[in-house]
């Protein structure tokens, strides 16, 4: 099976390529990237006028399987990923059972082999059942093939235990991802602490609940000599702290999500539960700092934090609704609309955040369109507009923060391991 992608504007941040080129895909891999490739291929994609880029590697996805198949499954999430130009996802461990032992990981791997339409990597838990009490067998997790560990949704409160986790992870050569939140500070908060929480009469979540825990996590990682990746950075102090740590040479990376660079707490004024996530949508100043962090390189990656919830869990009183939004189908378009078209990032930088940097952080040989690499490619009509409609989302859950928004950037093709997994 061979595919020739002809005449597209090829973006490869790894090689700093932004040029009109053809790409030949043979035997699941990129065999040639050049001008006017004259090869016979089984299928030809006319990419004239389109962007051709490495498929998105989304480091933060909740597949909900096993355990909450009513919200999402590996099959539905990876179909949504393919539609959104995402060719690799890192599956968060807060499933039921949690990904805290080899048996659970084998169970999920079996489902992935059967149902996944794109690459699925597994993130193991840090502590058993993600309770923050007892460490998982980190070497055993590594042996079962997890690419990182995280107690996502929770932070390990004990300094001693977290330090131990960093040490074990470092010895095992595995990345630790931190959901940095001090729940003693965020408490029962449901939206950003500020004038809007006052107006709406809702409990607030301070920036400090995030950045103070990031400060601690970085400090412990440094002590242990371990690499740490900070998940879903949402506020200005966090960006500052990470920037300083990077300048000191600490091995810290981080991600933000499309909603933190495109929406603010003002989206909450109508009590829309599709705007309820954790960390919460922040202020204008925070949004500006996130954009600046993306621009200056403090923020390495963009991930969706795809968090599907059923209507029963969202279409209820604001305080009682679940935190989280789906994002696999919209992340690329939000990035194109808010970052490329508004000139925050150029195409190369955008795919550095979406594809190249996540690959480097996870230590996988992807995120580039170089010859010999796996053919994970997205073809995009970058100027084409579309409206985000509930009825058109293919994720099992529809809790999307961008419903009704007009976005720029339509995925025409997603190719994963040399196979067309999505075609518009």
């Amino acid at each position: 099976m061979s595919i020739l992608v002809k005449g597209g504007r090829v973006i490869d941040p790894a090689k700093k390529i932004d040029a009109l080129l053809d790409i030949l895909i043979e035997d699941k891999k990129i065999s040639k990237v050049a001008k006017n490739i004259k090869a016979q291929a089984d299928s030809v994609i006319d990419a004239a006028g389109k962007i051709v880029a490495p498929g998105i590697i989304d480091m933060h996805v909740h597949l909900r399987q096993p355990g909450r198949e009513d919200k999402e499954t590996v099959a539905t999430a990876t179909a949504a990923a393919a539609k959104g130009g995402v060719t690799t996802v890192l599956a968060m461990p807060n499933t039921n059972p949690a990904m805290d032992c080899a048996e659970s990981i084998e169970l999920l791997k079996g489902i992935i082999r059967k149902d996944a339409k794109v690459n699925v990597l597994i993130c193991g838990a840090i502590t058993k059942a993600r309770l923050g009490k007892e460490l998982c067998e980190i070497p055993a997790l590594k042996k079962s093939g997890v690419y990182a560990i995280s107690d996502d949704g929770c932070s390990v409160d004990s300094d001693e235990l977290m330090l131990e986790a960093f040490k074990k992870a470092s010895q095992a050569g595995i990345l630790t991802i931190c959901h940095s939140e001090d729940k003693k500070l965020s408490g029962k908060g449901v939206i950003n602490l500020g004038f809007n929480s006052t107006r709406l009469g809702l409990r607030g979540i301070s920036n400090a609940s995030e950045y103070k825990r990031i400060e601690r996590d970085i400090e412990l990682a440094e002590k242990a000599g371990a690499a740490v990746h900070i998940a879903h950075v949402s506020c200005r102090e966090s960006v500052e702290i990470i920037s300083k740590a990077k300048k000191k040479g600490i091995k810290v990376t981080c991600e933000t999500t499309p909603h933190y660079f495109s929406l603010t707490e003002d989206a909450l004024l109508g009590y829309d539960t599709n705007m309820k996530m954790n960390p919460p949508l922040r202020s204008k100043e925070d949004l500006a700092a996130i954009k600046q962090g993306l621009k200056d390189g403090t923020i390495d990656a963009i991930a969706s934090d795809h968090a599907p919830h059923t209507e029963n869990e969202k279409d209820i009183e604001f305080e009682r609704a679940e935190f989280g939004v789906v994002g696999l189908e919209t992340e690329l378009a939000v990035g194109v609309t808010e970052l490329v078209h508004l000139k925050v990032l150029d195409w190369g930088k955008l795919f550095e955040k979406f594809s190249l940097n996540p690959a480097r952080i996870l230590g996988i040989d992807k995120g580039t369109l170089s010859e010999g690499k796996a053919a994970d490619i997205v073809v995009i009509s970058s100027e084409e507009e579309w409206e985000v409609r509930k009825s058109e989302l293919i994720s099992k859950s529809k809790n999307c923060a961008f419903l009704g928004r007009i976005l720029k950037g339509v995925v025409d093709y997603t190719i994963c391991n040399g196979k067309i997994v999505y075609k518009k």
């Binding site: 500020g194 006052t198 107006r199 709406l200 009469g201 109508g270 009590y271 009183e317 604001f318 305080e319």
Partner: protein, 310 residues
């Protein structure tokens, strides 16, 4: 000027003109309660449903009396005995009430924003009778109505609201209503009970009651609730009375004819002394009477808006 909104969710969402329209309408309805036959046929054939998720006697009864004086049929749903206990969602409950062809739902709910959500989901009118810490618009309207009746105007008045501002829907609705009508509002509470950014509503914040009462034309004293889960951060009851309680001694230093209001029920000896509650400056029972007129006005206006639409 005529009314166009099917719901009353909060005073933040109303214009000055809309608030004035409610007050003027209430003014004309007030006389009904003084008649020998206290009834007008304005809402005859309409059904109003009191849907109360929080225990409340005074607000529920006030709405019930108001609806009945307009000749509406009133149904009370106490959530302890309804299918709400069986886990029915708020929107399902609302849709069922709508399917019964009721015209207005009057809802009290412990979650902020619950009325906004219900109003969005339904075609019939929703009147917010208090949602979480968010708003209690009819309480503020009756406070403002009473104040206007007493002092002849709202514009330029100095009004102090004292108590647990952070957790008070009465405070929020009063702040929006009073500032829109041009009053100078001071909120007074212990530091920990002043919510973040409250000054952005256009009020002045103070933690000294004597200072806050100094030039006040009126003081609205909020009910203190010490049973909340954030209890640990709260001052002791006696300590609160010492620092913020409205006493005769404190009033003696304020303007002579300062109007003293309270949404009720009063905790005597905590927010205010009995001497003040029953004293010459107190308009607390007049507020209760005015509550009927204001709620008649609100029910009448939202029902009419719906009719104009259909």
């Amino acid at each position: 000027m005529f009314w166009t909104k099917k719901d009353l969710l909060g005073l933040e969402y109303l214009t000055q003109e809309e608030i004035e329209l409610i007050l003027d309408t209430a003014d004309s309805f007030k006389e009904v309660s003084t008649r020998e036959i206290k009834k007008v046929p304005a809402l005859r054939g309409k059904t109003a449903v009191n849907l109360f998720y929080e225990p409340s006697t005074r607000t529920r009864v006030s709405f019930e009396v108001a609806a009945k004086r307009l000749s509406a049929d009133v149904i009370n749903i106490a959530t302890e005995t309804s299918s709400v206990r069986k886990g029915e969602t708020l929107i399902d409950t609302g849709k069922n009430i709508q399917a019964l062809k009721a015209d207005i739902i009057i809802m009290r709910h412990n979650c902020s924003g619950a009325a906004n959500m219900l109003a969005r989901a339904l075609d019939i009118s929703v009147v917010n009778a208090g949602d979480g810490w968010h708003e209690h618009p009819t309480q503020a309207l009756l406070d403002i109505f009473t104040l206007k009746e007493k002092l002849g105007k709202i514009k330029g008045l100095n009004v102090t609201i004292v108590g647990d501002i952070a957790h008070s829907r009465v405070a929020r609705s009063n702040i929006w209503g009073l500032t829109k009508l041009g009053a100078n509002v001071t909120v007074c509470a212990p530091e920990m009970l002043l919510p973040v950014g409250i000054e952005k509503t256009g009020v002045r914040a103070s933690s000294s009651i004597d200072e806050a009462l100094k030039n006040a034309d009126a003081v609205n004293v909020l009910r203190m609730q010490f049973e909340r889960d954030e209890g640990a951060a709260f001052p002791e009851q006696l300590d609160y009375f010492k620092r913020f309680g409205i006493t005769g001694e404190r009033l003696a230093k304020a303007k002579k004819d300062i109007v003293v209001m309270h949404p009720g029920p009063i905790n005597r000896g905590i927010e205010m002394s009995s001497e003040v509650a029953d004293g010459a400056n107190s308009v607390i029972l007049e507020q209760v009477t005015n509550g009927i007129a204001v709620r008649m006005a609100v029910l009448f206006l939202v029902a009419q808006a719906r009719e104009a639409k259909t």
